[in-house]
């Protein structure tokens, strides 16, 4: 789950990280008031779950409240990578000498948390890591002892930070690590971490992504979800326990299992079609889940045909078929459906579906081929 910059900054601040405190505004008028309250020059920043907001014009400097209001009216309502900006953060403009990057993330290969830092802050760190790997320094936290003080200092020394600034930098690195661990984050990032003109450290932009699996033990963090910004279909899917990603194609997919879902999408592409979505209903195949999945898929106006691919496995084929029929009765589906079903007693299941007038096929490949053909003939 993504957090907004202002939410991440609030949490970082609680851990002692010096953040550039700002005020959230939902209207140009509120932005003007915020700028008045802060005084001086401000930055107005789009609060939206999409990268590249800077390049998209979502960050503007304002010299006075009137400019802040104008900036906010330009940013609010803007579309950035398909997301509508509904909030801006108004924060003091900070004069600084240097920009650093500081981030905490899981290193899957090492099965350890890694703290990364770079003196090339303020830019895309993945690009820096690719092009000048030596510009990014890393320390792996011990799985049991955590991220130790000497490691935090070593990051600073390796970046050439002056002795009098090392302690402050190391403290922030350790605080960011602690935020990451305490919140079950999958990313905690300060970019840029700046050295201001008066030689103090300040986090100018804060970013945090949470591990969805950890939310059950952080109800306070779960409450930070911005349901307003969430795609309504993705929201429905989430609440139904379905993994759903909307794509651009015309063949809607309903599959059980993430790997099989991806393989199904690949098969659609292989037979010349384009998947309209990734959709994994998870283990089992209950009628309610399938019905929810159908509702989500048919809500996409681009969908021209639907491929249902259920590898029932232990669940009896006739039970899965009955669930499917129940769901199909419940949802008004106006595009052709191709069903592929495997499970114990799958023949009984096929018969039930065919008797109800549905196309049932034996293999995933055949299903993909037919669904693509159906989408093209629509």
């Amino acid at each position: 789950m993504d957090l907004h910059e202002y939410q991440a900054a609030e949490i970082f601040g609680r851990y002692g990280i010096p953040v550039n405190r700002g005020i959230v505004a939902r209207t140009p008028e509120e932005a003007r008031q915020a700028a008045e309250q802060l005084g001086g020059r401000v930055v107005v920043k789009a609060q939206v779950h999409a990268g590249g907001r800077g390049k998209a014009g979502g960050i503007r400097l304002a010299n006075d409240p009137a400019e802040a209001e104008a900036a906010a009216s330009q940013i609010l309502g803007m579309e950035i990578r398909g997301r509508t900006v509904r909030k801006v953060l108004v924060a003091p403009a900070v004069a600084f000498d240097r920009e650093y990057y500081l981030g905490v993330v899981l290193d899957r290969d090492a099965r350890r948390i890694v703290v990364m830092a770079s003196s090339a802050g303020g830019v895309d760190i993945e690009e820096v890591a690719r092009e000048r790997p030596e510009a990014v320094v890393r320390e792996h936290a011990d799985p049991f002892l955590g991220f130790l003080d000497y490691q935090a200092r070593r990051l600073a020394f390796r970046l050439g930070i002056e002795p009098d600034l090392v302690r402050g930098f190391a403290a922030i690195a350790r605080q960011l690590y602690q935020v990451y661990v305490d919140c079950d984050a999958s990313l905690a990032e300060i970019n840029p971490l700046v050295l201001t003109r008066d030689r103090t450290w300040m986090a100018l932009d804060s970013k945090m992504v949470l591990d969805d699996n950890g939310l059950f033990r952080h109800p306070d963090l779960a409450d930070l979800r911005d349901t307003e910004e969430e795609d309504p279909l993705e929201r429905e899917a989430r609440l139904a326990g379905i993994s759903f990603v909307r794509l651009d194609g015309t063949v809607g997919c309903i599959v059980n299992g993430a790997g099989l879902s991806m393989a199904t999408m690949d098969a659609i592409k292989l037979y010349g079609g384009e998947p309209a979505n990734f959709l994994d209903i998870g283990g089992g195949a209950s009628a309610q889940r399938v019905a929810a999945a159908l509702r989500i898929v048919v809500a996409d106006p681009n969908v021209r045909s639907i491929l249902v691919n259920i590898f029932g496995g232990i669940t009896r084929g006739d039970v899965v078929a009955q669930g499917l029929l129940e769901a199909l009765r419940e949802v008004d589906v106006r595009v052709p459906i191709v069903i592929r079903l495997v499970g114990t007693r799958q023949e009984e299941g096929r018969r039930l579906l065919e008797d109800a007038g549905f196309t049932v096929v034996d293999t995933m490949e055949e299903a993909a081929e037919r669904a693509v053909a159906a989408a093209k003939s629509q």
Partner: protein, 291 residues
């Protein structure tokens, strides 16, 4: 022979009185797995499908000497259950639980390794040595004994491949689902090494997907250390970058972990990669015939 589980497996089920635990206990018994004990704190003294239930793993171990544990407890309690089994010295722990916070798994992964114990999963379908023992949630009927070892990050996709092999008349030595989470106990490389040393396994199928670099590490390992033929499949060729595809692991980030990279790595290691699950069976037949 087979790897990890066979006729000598003595299974403990943790969470045996739960819905999942009870259902799969029955399924595993029906398949022929010897389930010797179950654990549910507070349910000690009961029986589930004829299996005695204990309050603690230590008691279950003392009374029934299990050598594999199947952990089917909800995510908030699963790390504790894994560690209880590891501390009791059970050498193989199979955890099917999904939704365990990844940072919990970082600690558990290293703790389990330090104890010299093998963990499979979490969020995995388990494993099966057809005709010998099933310690997992996969449908037994799609499998048949034979010479092909299977290792996969996926659940139903593995069933798909197994089903294709079985229908093509090609049996399996052991099929291992390692799980799709970012931090899992057993990697592709671990299982490849076991298959390489298993005399019954004559060919290996590796089913990967986008995200992470485990497939690349596997390809490198195959190039260096695996002499048996390997056939690959990678799901997610068409997945767009930056979006998470169901599995916590299945995400392409920073241009790393794409299907194209993984397929290239396999091909560089001499591993043919199937385009469709069903094609795996054809490729396996070819490599087996060539031997």
């Amino acid at each position: 022979m087979a790897i990890l589980v066979d006729e000598s497996t003595r299974l403990l089920v943790q969470g045996i009185t739960g819905r999942e635990g009870s259902f799969h206990t029955q399924q595993m018994i029906e398949y022929g797995t010897r389930v010797v004990a179950g654990v549910t704190p507070g349910a000690g003294g009961r029986e589930v499908h004829g299996v005695p239930v204990f309050d603690t793993v230590a008691e279950a171990v003392a009374a029934t000497q299990p050598n594999v544990s199947f952990v089917a407890v909800p995510a908030p309690f699963a790390p504790d259950a894994i560690l209880e089994a590891a501390d009791a010295g059970i050498p193989l722990i199979v955890c099917i639980t999904e939704g365990i916070p990844v940072l919990e798994m970082v600690r558990v992964y290293h703790a389990v390794r330090a104890r010299g114990v093998r963990l499979l999963g979490p969020n995995c379908p388990g494993l099966i040595s057809p005709g010998k023992a099933k310690v997992g949630i996969m449908p037994g009927f799609i499998h048949t004994p034979g010479p092909v070892g299977i290792v996969s990050r996926s659940g139903t996709l593995t069933y798909e491949v197994v089903w294709a092999l079985t229908r093509a008349g090609i049996g399996q030595s052991t099929a291992v689902g390692i799980g799709g989470d970012p931090v899992i106990g057993t990697s592709f490389v671990d299982v490849l090494e076991m298959f390489q040393h298993d005399p019954e396994t004559q060919a290996i199928v590796l089913i990967g997907e986008i995200g992470g670099a485990d497939e690349e590490a596997a390809a490198e390992y195959i190039r260096r250390s695996v002499t048996k033929p390997v056939v690959g499949f990678i799901a997610g060729r068409t997945a767009p970058p930056g979006r998470r595809m169901g599995h916590a692991g299945a995400i392409i980030s920073g241009g790393r972990g794409t299907a194209a990279e993984k397929i290239a790595a396999f091909e560089a290691a001499g591993v043919p990669v199937a385009e469709r699950p069903a094609q795996v069976a054809e490729l396996v037949r070819q490599v087996l015939e060539r031997r």
